[in-house]
């Protein structure tokens, strides 16, 4: 009953061009990105999007490459929705939502070629850098996807990892006193648009997520799309899809500027 009433209120407001929290339809919530908050992590970032809070940390280790990509480093994205973040989250292994979020962010980073994995090869076929990106939801007030993606990107951009050397015996030596940045090729930006009734809104809050029909999450790299995920139990028309992508692209351009500023200023 409550969701029905809430939906009616949200839909009525949207039809007059307003949102339940006073934002414009295509407007994002206040964004705050804090980098390097975890000293023991190679890279880290906390992202606050309205009241949604997500943290991402980067750790690196030396491992063996995959057989089909002997001269490429390995990137692993993992996400967990902690019970600390919401009364509806339960402890245990990641559920389908956390797995989907991690895989969507992984596709965005991978297909944008954000990290130059070839530069992370130490000994072809034998030793490569593994980059672990772990994302944790700390407070869920909607759109964990975009907050998590921003946290992942900011943590990668600010990461500093040790240097690896190969000695005369062919062993891999790690030099922790010398630091290097991760090899970065591009900065992907992920934006989610929700469909509620016949309206499209950017950066849905939890109230909006609960009543939304469908979501479109798109990751942009240099104005092109490198990953899309439609989510939710209802449909979108082709027109809505393309309009959502256009709105998302505009927001992605703005977010890219903010990310660059934040990372540049430390």
């Amino acid at each position: 009953m409550m969701p029905k009433l809430k939906r009616q209120e949200i839909v009525d407001l949207l039809s007059s061009g307003r949102r339940i929290d006073g934002r414009g339809l295509e407007e994002l919530r206040a964004l705050e990105i804090r980098c390097r908050t975890v000293k023991n992590a190679e890279g880290s970032a906390e992202v606050r999007l309205g009241k949604t809070l997500a943290i991402a940390g980067v750790k690196t280790s030396v491992g063996t490459p995959f057989a089909d990509t002997p001269n490429m480093g390995v990137m692993i994205v993992n996400a967990e929705f902690l019970p600390i973040a919401s009364p509806t989250f339960e402890p245990g292994p990641p559920d389908e939502n956390a797995i989907e979020l991690a895989r969507v962010i992984d596709r965005g980073l991978r297909r944008a070629g954000m990290i130059d994995l070839e530069q992370l090869c130490i000994v072809p076929g034998k030793a490569v850098w593994e980059v672990w990106i772990d994302i944790y939801a700390l407070n869920h007030d909607g759109n964990l996807m975009d907050a998590s993606a921003l946290a992942a990107v900011a943590s990668i951009l600010t990461a500093e990892m040790p240097k690896a050397m190969v000695n005369e015996k062919g062993e891999v030596m790690i030099n922790k006193s010398e630091k290097q940045k991760l090899p970065i090729k591009s900065i992907p930006i992920t934006v989610t648009i929700a469909k509620i009734g016949d309206k499209l809104v950017a950066d849905p809050s939890l109230d909006e997520e609960e009543v939304a029909d469908a979501f479109l999450t798109a990751t942009f790299v240099k104005d092109n799309v490198c990953a899309i995920q439609k989510r939710g139990e209802k449909s979108l028309t082709a027109e809505e899809t393309l309009r959502a992508l256009q709105i998302a692209r505009q927001r992605a351009r703005e977010l890219l500027k903010i990310v660059k500023e934040v990372v540049g200023s430390g």
């Binding site: 995920q229 439609k230 939710g232 139990e233 979108l236 899809t241 992508l245």
Partner: protein, 251 residues
């Protein structure tokens, strides 16, 4: 398979793909409805060498009970690949990929089901990939949608699906495994053809907005052809059923 440093020519200059198809051809599609006797509804789909069984059980009681909803049916879906369906044996335990695909397939079918008709019940959709040669999620949706209809579940429309790829710069329909692994893009797409509504859209690879628009229009056209085959498969089931009944009456 491509070897690193060696570019595989996936499409010839005159627009022929490795299996001889043109960019907007889909592979041969065979659909058979109602082949697993225990299921309320079922279907078998062959899309080239991609082979899928789908079965629907329910509407039935929800276990565990607390998952039941008072206003609608719960839709559950499990997409699973058999260990022998791929080149290197796959562990039968569900992978992260399978968990994600189960979710997006469920979300691609749910918009078509009139869930309000079955409060407190569950409709379970089980999908087994028998042989994988690309586009398994699209073939799964084709199969599951026919299985749902053949189970007599009330639906707004069938759901048809077809993937789009980009190989050597050309947009192509219904990608094979080789095209997926060596191509630039894999986009999965499903729609309710009669209602013109998109129920699945996943992109893995770089496309411009204009290319996405073109890809959607290409695959929408293919989905309408696939839709006709889904309907024929359902009709076929009832023609066979009638034959069996008539023969039974004679003997």
């Amino acid at each position: 398979m491509s070897v690193k440093g060696k570019e595989l020519t996936l499409i010839s200059p005159d627009g022929r793909r490795l299996d001889g198809r043109r960019p907007d051809d889909i592979r041969e599609l065979k659909i058979k409805a109602g082949i697993l006797e225990n299921a309320g509804g079922s279907a078998y789909v062959e899309l080239g060498n991609t082979k899928i069984y789908a079965a629907v059980y329910g509407p039935r009681e929800v276990h565990p009970r607390h998952l039941a909803l008072p206003n609608r049916a719960v839709i559950r879906c499990r997409y699973h690949m058999t260990p022998f369906s791929v080149e290197e044996r796959k562990s039968p335990a569900p992978t992260r990929r399978e968990i994600e695909l189960s979710k997006v397939i469920r979300e691609s079918l749910t918009p078509a089901i009139i869930v309000e008709q079955f409060p407190f019940s569950a409709i379970d959709i089980f999908i087994e990939v028998i042989n994988a040669d690309g586009s398994t999620r699209c073939a799964s949706i084709i199969a599951a949608s026919v299985a749902l209809a053949s189970a007599g579940i009330p639906m707004k429309d069938l759901v048809a699906a077809c993937s789009v790829g980009k190989i050597n710069g050309v947009l192509v329909l219904d990608v094979t495994d080789v095209e997926d692994k060596n191509g630039e893009v894999d986009m999965s797409f499903a729609m309710m053809p009669n209602r013109n509504e998109i129920t699945l859209l996943q992109l893995d690879g770089v496309l411009s907005l204009e290319e996405i628009e073109r890809a959607i229009s290409m695959t929408s056209k293919a989905c309408k052809e696939i839709y006709e085959k889904q309907k024929s498969a359902l009709k076929e089931k009832y023609i066979e059923l009638r034959k069996a009944v008539e023969e039974g009456a004679r003997t």
